[in-house]
Amino acid sequence: MTDDNFEPKIIGFLCNWCSYTGADLAGVSRIQYPSNIRIIKVMCSGRVNPQFVLKAFQEGADGVLVSGCHPGDCHYIEGNYHARRKLTMLSDILEFTGIEPERFQMSWVSASEGKKFAEIVTAFTEQVKELGPQKKLAGGEK
């Protein structure tokens, strides 16, 4: 069922302090990963409203990645803990409605984990590619 030519559209919300910097480090280290991801910088993973994730799917994203500082490392003390709660619940309801929760991923990437960032993006892109185009929330117009 997988289409080899299918290039998934992936949106990544990265917090400014850890994950965005971690993605920068992946760049500085020249670690290659698939080019499908489009990064939107937010100040804190706690800024990511589950609505953004759903909206991205509705607009046609095939996968959404949210990444923040590791627990305890949040620049704003606790934003990532809040993100964890909200987005875990989102994941639950996606699963419950039969929308592949594998299309949505949360990760903790620190400023020193350039390699981890690249690995996560690579694995996630593969995972979403396997799933094929996301048509459920996008309304099947694609």
Partner: protein, 1057 residues
């Protein structure tokens, strides 16, 4: 002074001037440089003179830019004074950035340090010079002249883009000191990827002069003609924050096989193995064969706690870093056998004991032994021979890898630097303090201060606290000076309501971007967007001429938004924002598209896709840019008054430091006398200093100060307001009063827990706590005892109170010594679990008492605590099992002293509510960040010091007190606070006042007023959590509002044009 001049000259002669690439006349060299054909050889190079002297006027010179130097620089610069910060290596950050994680929170080290590094590099009041050494210091406090020798790195820091092409081209491989010799790097290099400044440098010693780097550098940053400089700086005071060296067990302690067996490494090398940007990218692999070890051991105290084989003091941090490394190892792979050979586990700090307990639970095996020898087996594994002091068996253990917890030792440069700066060096080689307990920051020269580990081993928060303290002291000397002018950006054009006119600048970064994607195509594609007024591609957007072009284009084309598609906003965002401001545009009208780190460098093999992605990233930027609005940064006045809660030693010292900075200070003290616990103590470990005399001296100074007002017998009833504008309501016998203030320091102290019911306490006059003993020693009314027993850790480190009291071991040893001196015939036995005398002087004091005073110490186990029996005749008997000799002992005690557990003051809970500050186990306050913000609360404008944080000995409490004074002085010396531009804003008509935003806000920045959320901009940090939590969207984060993010989502998915 005479000596110093002589030394200065001698130093000049000794210095090898590394400017010697010139064997041909400069003119010719320049010409050849243009033709990219320079070919020079190192041999026979002529010596060249230093570049013509520059002069810089500043206020404070800070030597060393590790975590202490950076903190001292920021604390000083934030107060409005000009800092000259010099660093001998090519980057700031020091040793901390080499660490993987930090104990006891397992915070990522670089994550916490990097924002500080960027802050230092961008601070308008800090002049940063890397590759620089101080060569002389003349003059006196308030008027010093120093000479700085700035070594050439042959790379123009203003031109280098940090792309790394030069390193790729460089044919020379050298051992990488940043990875502690575990990896190699090129002759031209940066220390590590997040280095600040991100400028490559050539190490002269390794360079073969081939010129490859120079040829590949598109930016033209490399020049072998760059000269080293002699820079004269004028300053008022100096902070020395030069850090430490790590003991290398090559000679002493060579029996552990370091340098001989490849699988014996130091703890710092192990940190590099753990680090995700280390030589193995975070994998634990054996250096000998790159295989994953199945067992790892740590040997503690390598180079510490031994007069003969290293240094006599305890290094303070090794127990915890070894515990951390072992625990992380277990976390990575639970099947690994992990063993720590220790003498005492000195888990003395806040949450340390709990961290240690957790490591034990995770399966880290602790063996009390000092291994005698180490051999390598044929397979490269290491055999360790040791005697377990608990079983007294001699055993061998085979380990795949052995880590040596090496000592913090004084820098080898200290004697030389001490001579240059005219400051004393102690017998170990650390810089000498004014007084080891009561004035740790002062050097032997007026106007020169110490911060961090160059005064003695310290962990990060203690170094940071001391650095803040040093900043306070350094400012005292120059407080009369005029402050640096605040940089005022030019008037801003009002562009609100104007149709967006966006300028897009797509940077090639030489080949770094354009080599992997088509920059011109990107610029062409977006030019058709109706909101884009101008779009172009440029060679180096960050270069000075491009900056000029951007400014000119803004002017000519009437741009009101700018997008730069280049490297990363983290490193270069500030630069372009400055450019906008210089052109009269609000800096929040700038947007960055990261097409290098996030695109060209990570998609280097698919030009088409990389170009497509770059277009999308720019489009996303445009879609947000259209919606950007100028943001104003509000300013608030600060009431120039600091309030200190608690008049103990920490509170008094903080008040004195504030007074020296000429800041009005109020001490609110519940009792009828300043001094706190000093009034109750007989003497202070590890000295025989008289606390009452110290307290008297301080009281006299406080009384004499025009800036300090003391409110005795006064309680704080309520506090309202926020940073800069607090109001206190106080109650005293004289009546109620109010006080407005700008910042507050909590110094509410600590005390012994109630021992009632423990170890027979309360039932017999022969049983007392250490604090009570101090009182009896002052009163001198003890009945002559024949036998004395002390029980340490009484009520400590158990399930109810799992923390270590930090000070009890020292106090018990000091009191044992006093009692022994007073009653030489008395038998004294201290029952202990671990002897935790950490840091400089303490271990030495302890060793001296044990060797020379005939005080016995008996180790007991936490599962078999001593039992106290009170006989019918009132005599006291202590039963204890000696863990080392496995003896059941019965000790009669004419005097039984309990070293009682400690906890935070009773007023903690009330203060918690009034100031909205958090409290943790043991009623101790919780700091904003365990490592890098040890004196701050998350709530701005409120700071703390001393034992309100955790029990402290005198030196640490004083360093903290001066540090807290420094922190509290910053807003006051700034006079006006410029607030964050990116804050939250409420649309009142949409808000129904459900309060969930206020509940979520980590900073208490949202209040509900008349059923509506109201953001206090003075407290808002702009994280946007409220925005994500509000269901209706009534509260929005400026600069990242729903509309802007939604537009980016849409434009990333829909090919708009």
């Amino acid at each position: 002074m005479q000596d110093q001049n002589e030394y200065f000259e001698q130093y000049y002669e000794e210095v090898d001037l590394h400017d010697d690439y010139l064997m041909i006349p400069p003119e010719l060299a320049l010409l050849e440089a243009e033709e990219n054909e320079i070919e020079v050889k190192k041999d026979g190079l002529a010596k060249n003179k230093l570049a013509a002297g520059r002069r810089i006027n500043g206020d404070v010179l800070i030597v060393g830019a590790g975590i202490s130097g950076m903190q001292a620089a920021l604390d000083t610069a934030d107060k409005g004074y000009r800092v000259i910060l010099i660093e001998k290596s090519s980057t700031i950050g020091g040793n901390m950035v080499k660490l993987d994680k930090t104990f006891p929170t397992n915070d990522c080290s670089i994550c916490t340090a990097a924002p500080k590094m960027v802050e230092v590099s961008r601070h308008p009041n800090i002049t940063l010079m890397t590759y620089a050494d101080v060569m002389s210091l003349e003059g006196e406090k308030g008027d010093f002249t120093a000479h700085i020798y700035r070594k050439s790195a042959y790379v123009d820091p203003d031109v280098c883009t940090g792309c790394g092409d030069c390193a790729t081209a460089c044919p020379v491989e050298v051992i990488n000191p940043f990875d502690d010799k575990l990896s190699k790097r090129k002759g031209i290099s940066i220390e590590f990827p997040q280095a600040v400044p991100i400028v490559y440098s050539i190490n002269y010693d390794n360079c073969v002069g081939c010129g490859s780097c120079e040829r590949v550098c598109d930016a033209g940053a490399i020049s072998f003609l760059r000269k080293s400089e002699d820079i004269e700086v004028k300053i008022g005071s100096v902070i020395v924050a030069t850090g430490y060296d790590l003991f290398e067990p090559l000679e002493m302690r060579k029996e552990y096989g370091y340098g001989k067996y490849p699988n014996v490494i130091t703890a710092m090398q192990f940190e590099r193995l753990l680090s995700s940007f280390g030589p193995t990218e975070g994998k634990i692999l054996r250096p000998s064969d790159g295989t994953a070890p199945k067992s790892i051991g740590w040997i503690q105290c390598v180079g510490s706690r031994s007069k003969q084989l290293g240094f006599p003091y305890c290094s303070r941090v090794c127990c915890m870093y070894a515990t951390k490394e072992a625990a992380i190892t277990k976390e990575i792979d639970d099947s690994l056998e992990v063993t720590i050979f220790y003498m005492d586990i000195r888990a003395y700090g806040k949450d340390f004991q709990q961290y240690y307990d957790k490591a034990k639970d995770m399966g880290v095996n602790y063996i009390r032994a000092r291994p005698s020898s180490v051999y390598q087996n044929e397979d490269g594994s290491i055999a360790v021979r040791y005697m377990d002091t608990h079983t007294r068996e001699i055993l061998d253990m085979n380990l795949d890898m052995l880590v040596l917890s090496t000592a913090i030792m004084p820098s080898k440069q200290n004697p030389k630097l001490g001579k240059v700066l005219g400051i004393g060096v102690d017998h170990n080689g650390f810089f000498e303090s004014g007084s080891i307990v009561s004035d740790p920051i002062q050097t032997t020269r007026d106007g020169v201060f110490l911060a961090g580990c160059n005064q003695g081993p310290k962990d990060i928060p203690d170094s940071v606290a001391m650095a803040s303290g040093a900043a306070a002291r350094a400012v005292e000397a120059i407080v009369e000076r005029e402050k640096a002018d605040a940089v005022k950006p030019p008037e801003q054009k009002d562009v609100s309501g104007d149709k967006p006119k966006i300028g897009v600048f797509v940077c090639h970064c030489g080949k770094n971007i354009n080599g992997y994607l088509d920059c011109a195509d990107v610029a062409d594609t977006v030019r058709d967007d109706p909101n884009v007024e101008y779009s172009t591609d440029v060679m180096f957007a960050c270069s000075e001429d491009s900056q000029t072009d951007i400014r000119k284009t803004i002017e000519e084309k009437g741009l009101n938004r700018v997008i730069v598609a280049a490297c990363s906003p983290i490193t270069h965002g500030g630069l372009f924002q400055d450019t906008l401001e210089e052109s009269g545009l609000n800096k929040y009208l700038f947007e960055f598209a990261n097409i290098r780190q996030h695109c060209s460098w990570v998609h280097s093999h698919d030009r088409e896709k990389a170009t497509q992605k770059a277009k999308d990233l720019v489009r996303m930027g445009i879609s947000k840019s259209v919606l950007l609005e100028p943001l104003s940064q509000e300013e608030v006045d600060v009431i120039p008054v600091t309030v200190i809660i608690g008049g103990g030693i920490a509170g008094m010292k903080a008040a004195m430091a504030l007074s020296d900075m000429e800041i009005e200070t109020h001490i609110i003290e519940m009792g009828d006398k300043l001094g706190g616990n000093l009034n109750k103590l007989h003497s202070l470990f590890p000295t025989e200093l008289d606390p009452s005399q110290l307290a008297n001296e301080m009281r006299t100074k406080i009384e004499a100060s025009d800036y300090i007002k003391v409110h005795l017998n006064t309680t704080l009833e309520n506090v309202e307001g926020f940073i800069g504008n607090f109001k206190a309501y106080m109650k005293s016998p004289g009546g109620d009063s109010e006080l407005e203030f700008g910042t507050a320091i909590i110094a509410s102290g600590f005390g012994e827990i109630d021992m009632a019911g423990k170890y027979g306490y309360g039932n017999n006059p022969k049983i007392m706590t250490q604090m009570e003993l101090e009182g009896r020693l002052i009163a001198d009314d003890l009945e002559k005892p024949k036998s004395i027993v002390m029980i340490n850790c009484a009520g400590a480190m158990d399930e109810e109170r799992p923390w270590c009291c930090r000070i009890g071991c020292g106090v018990s040893i000091k009191n044992a010594k006093l009692l022994k001196e007073k009653y030489p015939d008395a038998e004294i036995n201290i029952l202990y679990r671990d002897i935790r005398v950490f840091g400089k002087e303490e271990e030495e004091y302890f060793a001296d008492v044990i060797e020379n005073m005939h005080v016995k110490i008996t180790r007991y186990s936490d599962v078999e605590k001593p039992q106290v029996v009170i006989n019918d005749d009132g005599s006291v008997m202590v039963k204890v099992r000696d863990q080392i000799y496995n003896d059941e002992m019965e000790l009669s005690a004419d005097l039984l002293v309990l070293t009682a557990q400690t906890e935070g003051s009773e007023s903690t809970d009330k203060l918690q509510q009034m100031f909205k500050i958090p409290v943790g186990p043991g009623h101790f306050f919780i700091e904003a960040h365990a490592k890098i913000r040890p004196l701050d609360f998350a709530t701005d404008g409120v700071y703390f010091c001393g034992s309100a944080h955790f029990p402290k000995n005198l030196a640490d409490a004083i360093a903290q007190a001066e540090g807290a004074a420094s922190r509290a002085a910053i807003p006051i010396m700034k006079q006006r606070l410029v607030l964050e531009g990116i804050t939250a804003i409420v649309e009142p008509d949409m808000c129904v006042g459900c309060g969930i935003c206020a509940e979520a806000c980590p900073f208490g920045a949202i209040d509900l007023i008349k059923g509506k959320a109201v953001v206090n901009e003075a407290l808002c940090k702009g994280c946007g959590l409220c925005n994500a939590t509000c269901r209706s969207g009534a509260i929005q984060q400026k600069g990242f509002n729903d509309h802007q993010i939604l537009s980016m989502i849409k434009s990333s998915l829909n090919e708009v044009f």
